[in-house]
């Protein structure tokens, strides 16, 4: 279960060391044992097993559809899936069964992937903790790791373990937890302000945000149309390249995907980084950045320097305004996108029947949580005639300035930017909920969302463990549509830092403590 896609599990499936149904069953069993993580909203056991059986037939005939054939994957619950509920963790869509698959889901299925289920998130992907959905918060698997337990000082007995658990980050927390706890090999998330990279950093997995326009958003329930992208979560950089290869490319159903021909690539094993120029944006030394992460960031820069790369400090002067800019643009687009939820065609519908408007109002009052309602109202405020110029248009102008900052830096010869992903390691849930969603989002998105503003590709690479035994990640930001370069450098870095495997302590349904199960069986 710990094997990488490209070189281990797929090879194992091809050679018959393990069958797709065995793999699927193990994952389903592990999902059951890790139910307390609350990573999954829906587990599609029957359909997954059927898909696994079909995959097995193909392998027996020697005709797998692709390297993803038979590979168990999970999908964030804001992607439409046929026959499987899509809730966005909201009462508004409880029970909603989509008549179509999101393009990315269809692509994965067409290549034989086995869809295990839909993962938990913040309601409508609004949040940075995966704590604000109607199905409850997601727990970070690292809360139950030996690494974390060894470092925590228990004040009382098991009571503390229950209240000590840490968040996954968000909003794609369920997907990150699913990958981190070995219940699937890859998961889809979404990234609008950092929603894939943030939980990836907290859960110690690779989180890739592709360039805006590379992967289809058709079927991804939209938050901010000009910034949303599907995100990819995997356990290693090579795997994210594999998944990227199967998803990227023009989609006639999404006019915001570029028409350029996309060629899937294999990542070279870079040994010589002397031709690479790494930029360290000084503004990412943000207030509140933990000293641990600062030290890790510095160490990483030295790693590149000592290996011969050119490492220079750069400036992205408008960085501190990006969170404010995002706040205005996001709420404005949300106000528009959430208007479709009126109870008429799908989703929750109130019993209120006096008039169309009152029915809509009641439906939305009943269906949306505080966070969603708050953003809709704020967005509508910024879009009022008297505010449009001063807030919305102003934010769009600031957006251009932010995007231009990156253009200037990349234009000066820098290939890749190296920054922290989060301000600190994962916070305990009890501490996280002391502040409201908007405050937390504003704090946590600071390092990730400028990349969404500018549409650039960015990736979180798990780098080390904090003093509390929790994952710390660093972020690489690349140039538009230069994913190959970005991932090549990320892969080199990943190899240098050798991030430890999580020692998850979980009671399994079948025999054996699985943390002793090495990838030997798959090599």
């Amino acid at each position: 279960l710990k094997g990488g896609l490209r070189f281990q599990v797929s090879a194992a499936l091809k050679e018959g060391h393990v069958t797709p149904t065995e793999l699927c069953q193990r994952c389903l069993s592990l999902i059951k044992s890790t139910k307390f993580l609350n990573a999954y909203i829906t587990v599609a056991e029957e359909t997954a097993l059927k898909q696994a059986e079909e995959s097995e037939k193909r392998y027996r005939r020697g005709q797998p559809l692709s390297v993803l054939d038979g590979i168990p994957i999970a999908v964030k619950d804001n992607f439409n899936t046929v026959g499987i509920e899509t809730t966005c963790a909201s009462n508004m869509l409880k029970g909603y069964i989509s008549p179509y698959n999101a393009t990315v889901v269809q692509k994965l299925l067409d290549q034989g992937a086995v869809l295990l289920g839909k993962t938990n998130l913040d309601e409508f992907a609004m949040g940075s903790g995966s704590t604000d959905g109607v199905f409850g918060p997601v727990r970070n698997p690292w809360s139950y790791s030996r690494q974390y337990k060894e470092k925590s000082v228990p004040k009382s007995h098991s009571e503390d373990e229950e209240s000590n658990w840490v968040i996954t980050g968000g909003s794609s927390g369920g997907s990150a937890a699913a990958v981190s706890s070995f219940t699937c090999f890859a998961a889809l998330g979404s990234d609008t302000g950092g929603s894939t990279r943030n939980p990836a950093a907290h859960c110690g997995v690779v989180g890739l945000k592709p360039t805006y326009g590379l992967i289809s958003r058709h079927g991804l329930i939209p938050l901010v149309n000009s910034m949303d992208v599907p995100g990819i979560l995997t356990r290693c950089v090579d795997d994210s390249a594999v998944v990227l290869g199967s998803l990227a490319g023009h989609d006639p159903k999404d006019s915001t995907t570029i028409q350029d021909n996309f060629k899937p690539f294999e990542l070279p094993n870079l040994t010589d980084v002397s031709k690479i120029s790494i930029g360290i944006p000084k503004e990412y030394h943000a207030p509140g950045l933990s000293s641990e992460i600062l030290a890790l960031w510095s160490k990483a820069a030295d790693l590149f320097k000592n290996a011969g790369a050119k490492v220079i400090e750069v400036s992205l002067p408008h960085t501190r305004y990006s969170i404010v800019c995002y706040h205005v643009l996001c709420t404005a687009e949300v106000a528009s996108n959430m208007a479709r939820f009126d109870g008429l065609e799908y989703g929750h519908r109130s019993d209120m029947n006096k008039s169309t408007e009152s029915m809509y109002a009641a439906t939305r009052r009943e269906g949306f949580n505080d966070v969603v309602r708050g953003r809709i109202l704020s967005g509508n405020y910024f879009l009022l005639k008297q505010n449009y110029e001063n807030y919305f248009i102003k934010a769009q102008k600031v957006r251009r300035l932010i995007a231009n900052d990156f253009v200037k830096v990349f234009g000066s010869g820098v290939d890749i930017l190296l920054t922290p992903t989060t301000l600190s390691d994962a916070m305990p849930y009890m501490e996280f909920i002391k502040e409201d969603n908007r405050t937390r989002s504003a704090q946590d998105d600071i390092l990730t969302q400028a990349a969404n503003m500018a549409g650039l590709p960015a990736i979180n690479v798990p780098t080390g463990l904090s003093e509390r035994g929790l994952p710390l990640g660093l972020q690489f930001i690349g140039q538009s549509f230069q994913e190959k370069q970005l991932l090549t450098v990320a892969k080199w870095f990943e190899k240098q830092v050798k991030f430890p495997v999580i020692q998850l302590e979980v009671k399994r349904h079948d025999h054996g403590a699985f943390q002793h199960q090495k990838s030997v069986s798959f090599s």
Binding site: S255, R373, L384, K397
Partner: protein, 107 residues
């Protein structure tokens, strides 16, 4: 500068979403305060940016019918329907005014 009750009422009408309580209203006040920081930035001569793909041509496809005839599929998810119609309560009845409807803003 606080947001007036008139504007709050107007927003509830436009958004068809309610503030619910004092916290909801405070949330908006804070959001506006937060957004005001934008005015520190000098944007003279800067054009608003709609999309990061602005330098590319928007894709237009051929006007060919490639899918459709999925009435049953689409109606499956609606709660109230009659034959091939979605059923809505009577329109043309505006949302009751502030004084007449149940809203936190009345207080």
């Amino acid at each position: 500068q606080k947001v007036t009750v008139e504007v709050l009422d107007h927003l509830e009408h436009l958004a068809l979403v309610d503030f619910r309580d004092a916290e909801g209203v405070e949330r908006l006040q804070k959001a506006v305060q937060f957004a005001d920081q934008l005015h520190e930035v000098n944007t003279d001569g800067v054009e608003p940016m709609d999309s990061v793909l602005e330098d590319r041509c928007l894709y237009l496809r051929e006007d060919d019918v490639t899918e459709g005839n999925c009435t049953n599929e689409l109606l499956k998810n609606a709660r109230e329907k009659v034959e091939e119609y979605f059923v809505a309560p009577p329109g043309n009845i505006p949302l009751p005014k502030l004084e007449e409807r149940e809203t936190f803003l009345q207080g």
